[in-house]
């Protein structure tokens, strides 16, 4: 039973209206959770993580461990003046950040977030779940183009163009690598993919190693991690923003609330990337002792930590090198991986 069905079954009514209310409430709860996750890990955690990597201390004066910086930052960002530059293409400029944020949030509709107090926190579980996630995540590219093009700023323009080139080059390897997992699981339904990883792969000295696809096919896992870094635009692939080159890329002209939306969309995209990786490679919410939901969040934050690590330690590649790595390297490797997987699955 999905989260939506659980909630609508609690309602005194039934039918489409109950389904709708159930879906709305479920989405609201999941989105609220994601927002607080961004607030903690994006505003406070990011500072602390980067500081740890770069030998600094970071916030420690606002409340315990500097946690109240979240409040200060929220007030600061929301109370700033929204500067609308001359000559922006108004509806597109306004919609860009919204499209980016909502596309990332839409992806979470099908992610199996695991159990908490006996509740299954997956909002919906369609048959084509994986295809749906990739599709919604890709809508963000449209938002990037809108933001880059409508800002009436050459840096934004360059950033937007770079973002498109990058997403084109990396989305295909990402999806193709994802398909190789589908071959193993035999289903696009995310709950099926998670269930398929529940079996024991080998048992080492009494410890059962589950057949997570990261263990079954580590090559695909690495490919996916790299392509995902490019997808979320973090070092070494942060060329669409590339501070020091094109100032802030497509988000140069955004301030105040719109900037918050851009920022939010970036983090939710990273979390969505982490959620996809956790679902199709790391056994989803599976894990010992703790509730599944907690494991899921730990896995998402693990991927987040990895992106922050890369950001602190790896140089950025140049735009032409980025495209080259995407089209000449990752694409070939991901197709090779797909064909090999197909052969192996076929033979077994």
């Amino acid at each position: 039973m999905t989260f939506t069905e659980t909630i609508s079954s609690l309602l005194p009514i039934s039918g489409p209206i109950a389904d709708f209310i159930g879906g709305a409430v479920a989405s609201l709860l999941i989105i609220s959770f994601l927002m607080s996750l961004v607030a903690v890990s994006g505003i406070w955690g990011k500072r602390k993580i980067t500081a740890a990597f770069t030998d600094r201390i970071a916030v420690n004066r606002h409340g315990p461990f500097g946690l109240l910086i979240i409040v200060a930052d929220a007030v600061r960002l929301l109370s700033k003046e929204l500067i609308v530059p001359d000559g922006v293409d108004r509806p597109a400029w306004d919609l860009g950040p919204l499209v980016m944020t909502s596309s990332a949030l839409l992806g979470f509709a099908v992610i199996p977030m695991g159990d908490l107090f006996g509740l299954n926190l997956q909002i919906a579980d369609p048959q084509a779940g994986l295809a749906y996630v990739f599709a919604t995540a890709s809508i963000a590219s449209v938002g990037l183009v809108m933001a880059g093009y409508s800002s009436n700023n050459k840096y934004s323009m360059l950033g937007g163009l770079r973002a498109v080139a990058q997403n084109l080059a990396y989305e295909i390897p990402l999806v193709v690598t994802g398909v190789s997992v589908v071959l193993f699981a035999g289903s696009l339904q995310l709950s099926e993919i998670v269930a398929a990883q529940g079996e024991t792969l080998v048992s080492l000295g009494g410890v059962a190693i589950p057949s997570w696809y990261a263990f079954v096919n580590p090559f695909a896992f690495i490919l996916f991690m790299i392509a995902n870094l490019a997808e979320v635009g973090r070092n070494p692939f942060d060329v669409p923003e590339a501070p020091t080159e094109i100032v802030a890329g497509w988000q140069t002209e955004y301030s105040s609330v719109y900037f918050v939306l851009c920022y939010l969309s970036e983090f939710i995209h990273i979390f969505l990337g982490g959620a996809i990786i956790a679902t199709i490679f790391l056994g989803g919410p599976a894990g010992p002792f703790l509730p599944g939901f907690v494991w899921m969040v730990i896995k998402i934050l693990g991927v987040y930590l990895f992106t922050q690590w890369c950001r602190s330690a790896i140089p950025r590649v140049r735009i032409d090198q980025l495209i080259e790595i995407g089209w000449k390297g990752l694409l070939e490797l991901s197709f090779a991986n797909l064909v090999l997987t197909a052969v192996i699955v076929g033979l077994l």
Binding site: D55, R56, P236, E245, R311, S312, R316
Partner: protein
């Protein structure tokens, strides 16, 4: 016939084994030389304003003066004068000046741009500040001051009080034309700076892009012009000038800059410096060099990595140690004001043992830290992908633009004033000049990192010397008259190896206690001129990387 036959080195015209034979040069120049002057550093020949190119070409091709170090312009009561200070990259002690007088009514002189590419900016500055015009100059515009400025501030009849009224309309949108051109052409005009994360200060790059490729780039400087030359002309030699050099290259290279002034003034007024003070100067100058190079590596990594990353903070952390040592020594962290004419301000801090111990601790830890840098930067494959073979500056172009310091040495030009024209205590110590032949961004970074090791070697030897120095011979200051008044018409051009290259000072005395002309030859100014050569045809990120690898400090470019 033996293969081991000692070959006599091939000498250029006018070059002898001892130095320069100016009589031979005079006969080489023949009728071009219409007079001869004697400057403290070298002889100078007077050349007619319409024969500048021919004379300079002779000196470059026949006599081997391949380095136009500086162009000084000044106004006298009866004439204008441009002085080209020429040197050799092989041996900078071989110098010659070319003095070009022009009349008051028609201050037009032939441009040297055809012979030395570096003359381009130097002559623009001369036009901007003094008012001499150069025939044949490709682009004679103001360089430091705004286009709309009235008058030439270093000319004699310049009215300081004159209001510089510029109508707002003139500055409303100086780039509107460029925007209009975008619609018709395939290229895009992009302003990088004056405020941009990677311009290391207020530098404005007018960039023309073809897609992501840089079709053309032009530096617009002067945003940080603080009239340093004029300030120094209004200060007395003895005390009032020394604080200002700290403000040229303000990235903790203060003592190196101070030394440029100290060296020029001491040679001009014939002041001795006690040996003990020279050792302290050498040590503190190399500490500044380490701090400066650390920052250069850090900011370069910032440009390549793209964010405040680990490597940036690691370099800042290690620079901090150096900064603390310099603070102990001079009392200041940035604007040291530590050197004095004839010595230094004060002796090493007490207790001396503690200072030595802290310095030695730093030197002991340095190899490990540099190893860490090499792990994180130079051996990183993505870093190499970005830096190797980008921003290529071949040695001949570098020489023509008067590039010096790590920029020249990264292009394989073996040129270091510390070794070639020794001052201080450098010739007594055991160290090497670092060069790399890659000519690219990578080589320039590597040169800086290896130079840190060499500086550490120098500091270590200085510490050894200072530790052993007998207590009764610790003389930090020689006798210098309270008021320094060098003889009228004494002229000198002297340079030291600053953090970014050859930092030279030209001074002319007029018999008072203040210099009549004070000209700063900034290494960054010349180095920055090479940027278009490096980045044309490359991508924007390479342009940013090249700019970072030049390690400019706008305070020194604009002065």
């Amino acid at each position: 016939m033996s293969l081991e036959e000692p070959s006599t080195p091939e000498l250029d015209t006018g070059e002898t084994l001892e130095g320069v034979d100016y009589d031979a040069l005079e006969s080489l120049l023949g009728e071009y030389a219409i007079g001869r002057e004697s400057h403290v550093n070298a002889e100078a020949f007077v050349v007619r304003p319409d024969e500048v190119q021919a004379a300079l070409e002779l000196l470059r091709d026949e006599a081997g003066f391949d380095h136009c170090s500086c162009v000084t312009a000044q106004e006298y009561e009866d004439r204008y004068e441009s002085i080209y200070h020429l040197r050799k990259y092989d041996d900078p002690t071989q110098e010659v000046g070319v003095v070009v007088p022009t009349t008051k009514d028609d201050p037009v002189s032939e441009s040297a741009n055809e012979v030395y590419r570096t003359a381009d900016w130097h002559e623009r500055e001369a036009y901007d500040l003094v008012g001499i015009e150069y025939d044949d100059h490709p682009d004679l515009r103001r360089i430091l001051l705004p286009e709309t400025w009235q008058g030439h501030p270093l000319s004699l009849d310049y009215d300081q009080e004159q209001p510089q009224v510029v109508e707002f309309a003139e500055h409303a949108n100086p780039l509107r034309e460029d925007h209009a051109a975008d619609a018709q052409s395939d290229t895009m005009f992009l302003n990088i700076g004056p405020h941009h994360p990677a311009t290391h200060g207020v530098l404005h790059l007018k960039t023309t892009l073809d897609g992501e490729t840089v079709a053309d780039v032009e530096s617009d400087i002067g945003y940080l012009h603080r009239c340093e030359e004029q300030i120094c002309q209004n200060g007395t030699y003895r005390h009032q000038i020394m604080p200002y050099p700290d403000r040229w290259d303000y990235i903790s290279a203060g003592i190196l800059n101070e030394w440029a002034y100290a060296r020029a003034a001491e040679d001009m007024a014939d002041i001795d410096v006690p040996e003990y003070a020279q050792v302290i100067r050498t040590m503190s100058a190399e500490m500044c060099r380490i701090a400066s190079h650390m920052l250069a590596v850090a900011t370069f990594a910032l440009d390549i990595y793209g964010d405040f990353t680990a490597i940036f903070m690691y370099a800042m952390r290690d620079r901090e140690v150096m900064q603390n040592l310099l603070e102990d020594l001079t009392g200041q962290r940035l604007m040291f004001n530590y050197l004095r004419l004839g010595g230094v301000a004060w002796d090493l801090p007490e207790p001396r043992e503690e200072f030595f111990e802290q310095t030695r601790d730093f030197l002991d830890e340095l190899p490990g830290k540099l190893e860490e840098f090499h792990d994180m930067i130079t051996s990183n494959e993505i870093f190499q992908l970005r830096c190797v073979n980008t921003g290529v500056l071949d040695p001949e172009t570098a020489k023509s633009y008067g590039a010096t310091g790590p920029v020249a040495r990264g292009s394989g030009v073996d040129y270091d004033i510390r070794r070639d024209d020794p001052y201080g205590y450098y010739d007594e110590l055991d160290w090497d000049v670092v060069t790399e032949d890659g000519c690219d961004n990578y080589s320039r970074v590597l040169v800086r990192m290896r130079e840190v090791e060499e500086s550490a070697k120098i500091i270590e030897q200085c510490v050894d010397l200072l530790e052993e120095w007998p207590e009764d011979e610790r003389n930090i200051q020689s006798n210098v008259p309270r008021t320094l008044k060098p003889d009228a018409d004494t002229e000198i051009y002297r340079s030291v190896e600053g953090a970014k290259g050859e930092l030279g000072i030209y001074m002319r005395a007029d018999g008072t206690d203040k210099p009549a002309r004070f000209k700063i030859r900034s290494p960054c100014f010349s180095n920055l001129q090479t940027l278009p050569e490096m980045s044309q045809g490359e991508y924007i990120p390479d342009l940013i990387a090249s700019l970072g690898s030049l390690d400019i400090v706008l305070g020194e470019v604009d002065r």
